[in-house]
């Protein structure tokens, strides 16, 4: 049944158990309706029939879906065809993949299958989903997708009779950060939602003391909100449970989840910005959260995983962990941060407190926010454009804000309220620096660790011989493909023996 994933003419089907695994998506609805019926006193049998019909419909729908969905890898694209009435044929170029997630809901975990979500740079509608694949296939496909194009076809002599199990090479991994359950619990409890819940409870108690009848009415009225708040807390807890950030050759991998386990992989070159967030409640404990931005659709209707372009890299951790991660990912150097001049206080009386910004020749770092202190790192090689914006108030105070935009919506670093002369200088200097950074791309941080260096993903990196700007790296060695000023040519690498 196993076939070579790269073969030319092999359309592959999803796992035969996927219709069954799809039923798992119904579980929240079932639980919700049961809870709602429990609330009601009168028992009506219709409810159960209704649920049974729903489950049957899902299974039939899933079966049809399974029958019409197929996928294959064709050269450097992944093709997915699906849909019975509206045929949908997707081609996902491997070079454009921004991130690959392996999602396993509870039922899928029991059945031993997983869903593969492939994120591209466009809107979330251009994402590819394969639900569900056998676990081994999913992992193998993920590796293949993340290695990118340019990988030669598998040797033909092996053919499709390759021994099963040999196909998945064990990739060396290295845990960068993990979150203990206790700390996660603490972080969830110290969030804004808890404060709201606490305030609500307090208000209700006060109300109950003065007029119990109003309080009872208020409880009935607020029950649904309180339920929602609690479920949000629960979701945060279960989504981030057993959180682990792992360094793999293909990219940084995040594994998390209590019931539904999610494993997201972001190739190193795809990180557009890194953000460290310190909410006011966490500050006394010295905790912070780390997020990375990748290009892609903004938060879609599914809160967990599918279309979120902003990914948590560390849901909660101390500064040391966060700093270690930043350093590993983008080779974070901390340039000297300078605050804006005192007159900026008139324009930003609240956020002035933390406001600061700085840059070196690889990154722009800026700090904003009052209640949530946010530190953003934007690699200069990712800068899409640099803008200087000056509002009327800023003009009077002789200040200006410089934006460094990265690919995606609202992914940018803001160097706020700098003096005008400095802002002009910044625009000039940052555009020069980003130009230089684009030409001499920073080496992927992974190359610094020798045990993983052999498995650096294929791609354009600075030419080691120095004769050209970039050289193509493939399968652990340099190729003869080089480029300078965007014009590619052929030049044999130094010391090429074969």
């Amino acid at each position: 049944m196993r076939a070579d994933l790269r073969q030319e003419d092999g359309w592959q089907r999803l796992h035969p158990l996927s219709p069954l695994a799809r039923v798992g998506r119904l579980v929240p609805i079932v639980v919700l309706s049961v809870v709602l019926t429990l609330g009601r006193s009168g028992s009506d049998r219709g409810q159960e029939y209704y649920l049974a019909v729903l489950a049957a419909a899902t299974v039939i729908f899933g079966l049809v879906n399974w029958l019409v969905t197929r996928w294959k890898i064709e050269g450097d694209t992944l093709r997915i065809e699906s849909g019975l009435i509206r045929r949908d044929s997707k081609r996902l170029p491997l070079a454009r993949i921004q991130a690959v997630d392996v999602v396993r809901p509870l039922l899928a975990r029991i059945l031993g299958v997983s869903e593969l979500r492939i994120r591209l740079a466009g809107s979330s509608s251009s994402d590819g989903r394969l639900a569900y694949l056998a676990e081994a296939t999913a992992l193998e496909l993920r590796l293949l997708l993340l290695q990118g194009p340019g990988k030669p076809q598998r040797p033909a002599e092996g053919g499709s009779s390759a021994p099963p199990g040999a196909a998945v090479p064990a990739t060396p991994e290295h845990v960068m950060a993990a979150v203990a359950t206790g700390r996660l619990l603490g972080s969830v409890l110290l969030s804004g939602i808890t404060v709201v819940l606490f305030a609500l409870a307090l208000a209700l108690v006060v109300l109950a003391v003065f007029s119990p009848r109003t309080a009872a009415a208020a409880v009935g009225f607020l029950a649904i909100y309180i339920f929602t708040l609690f479920s949000t807390l629960w979701r945060q807890l279960s989504n981030q449970f057993h959180f682990e950030a792992v360094e793999a050759p293909e990219g940084v991998r995040v594994r998390r989840g209590l019931l539904q386990s999610v494993s997201e992989t972001i190739p190193y070159g795809r990180i557009q910005a890194v953000r460290r967030i310190e909410p006011v409640l966490w500050r006394p404990l010295g905790w912070c959260r780390l997020e990375v931005d990748i290009a892609g659709g903004r938060k879609g209707k599914r809160g967990e995983g599918s279309a979120v372009a902003r990914k948590a890299l560390l849901p909660v951790g101390n500064h040391q962990d966060a700093w270690h991660l930043v350093d590993r990912l983008i080779g974070g150097t901390m340039p000297a941060l300078t605050p804006p001049p005192h007159r900026a206080r008139w324009k930003a009386p609240l956020s002035y407190h933390f406001l600061a910004a700085g840059y070196d020749d690889t990154h722009v770092v800026c700090v904003t926010g009052r209640l949530r202190k946010v530190t953003t790192w934007v690699p200069l090689e990712k800068a899409q454009s640099i803008r200087r914006v000056q509002g009327p108030v800023q003009r009077r105070l002789e200040l200006a804000t410089v934006h460094v935009d990265a690919a995606g919506k609202d992914i940018r670093g803001e160097l706020r309220d700098r003096p005008v002369q400095e802002a002009d200088r910044l625009v000039e200097e940052l555009s020069n620096l980003s130009r230089a950074a684009r030409k001499h791309r920073t080496k992927p941080p992974i190359e610094r660790s020798p045990d993983l260096g052999a498995a650096v993903p294929s791609g354009w990196y600075p030419d080691p011989s120095g004769r050209y700007a970039e050289r193509y790296w493939r399968d652990g060695s340099w190729t003869e493909h080089v480029s300078r000023d965007g014009i590619s040519s052929v030049d044999p690498p130094e010391g090429a023996s074969d």
Binding site: A121, R270, A295, K382, A383, Q384, S385, I386, R387, R388, V389, Q390, G391, P392, R395, A400, H403, D405, A406, A407, G408, K409, D410, I411, R412, V427, S431, S434, R435, R438, D485, G486, I487
Partner: protein
């Protein structure tokens, strides 16, 4: 050019308002309304002229600079290599004056470099030059 548009529009509006008021309320109302509309037209033409003067762009060796705005002043630097596509649009009024707008799109949603009110020949030249430069310096994401 924008000024010419606006002048024509406000002149027409004054005429129309004058006619309506004259028919409805008599001569005095007609004069007042014509004056009001003309003053409004003059004021907005002044604003438009200021805005028009604030628009500027410069093609440099490896990036394009676009500046605009009077109240909120913006200056964007877009490297040619980051350009995803170039868009040339011309609305009906723009077409009347043989003008068009060139817009640069990058992968970042925030960086909008728009150059409005270019002569059609100039916008075609700019478009061709930008695409050519973008191709030779392409850096993708």
């Amino acid at each position: 050019m924008r000024r010419a548009q606006l002048g024509a529009v406000s002149g027409l509006a004054a005429l129309a308002a004058g006619l309506i008021f004259a028919a409805a309320l008599g001569a005095l109302a007609c004069v007042i309304s014509v004056l009001v509309v003309l003053i409004a037209g003059g004021l907005s033409s002044w604003f438009v002229r200021r805005r028009y003067r604030a628009w500027r762009y410069q093609e440099r060796h490896e990036d394009l600079i676009v500046g605009r705005g009077v109240m909120v002043r913006r200056l964007s630097v877009v490297p040619y290599g980051r350009m995803q596509f170039v868009e040339v649009t011309a609305g009906p009024i723009e077409r009347l004056f043989n003008l068009s707008t060139v817009k640069l799109h990058t992968a970042a949603a925030a960086s909008d470099a728009r150059i409005p009110g270019l002569e059609s020949s100039e916008s075609a030249r700019l478009r061709d030059r930008l695409t050519q430069l973008g191709e030779s310096q392409a850096a993708g994401m």
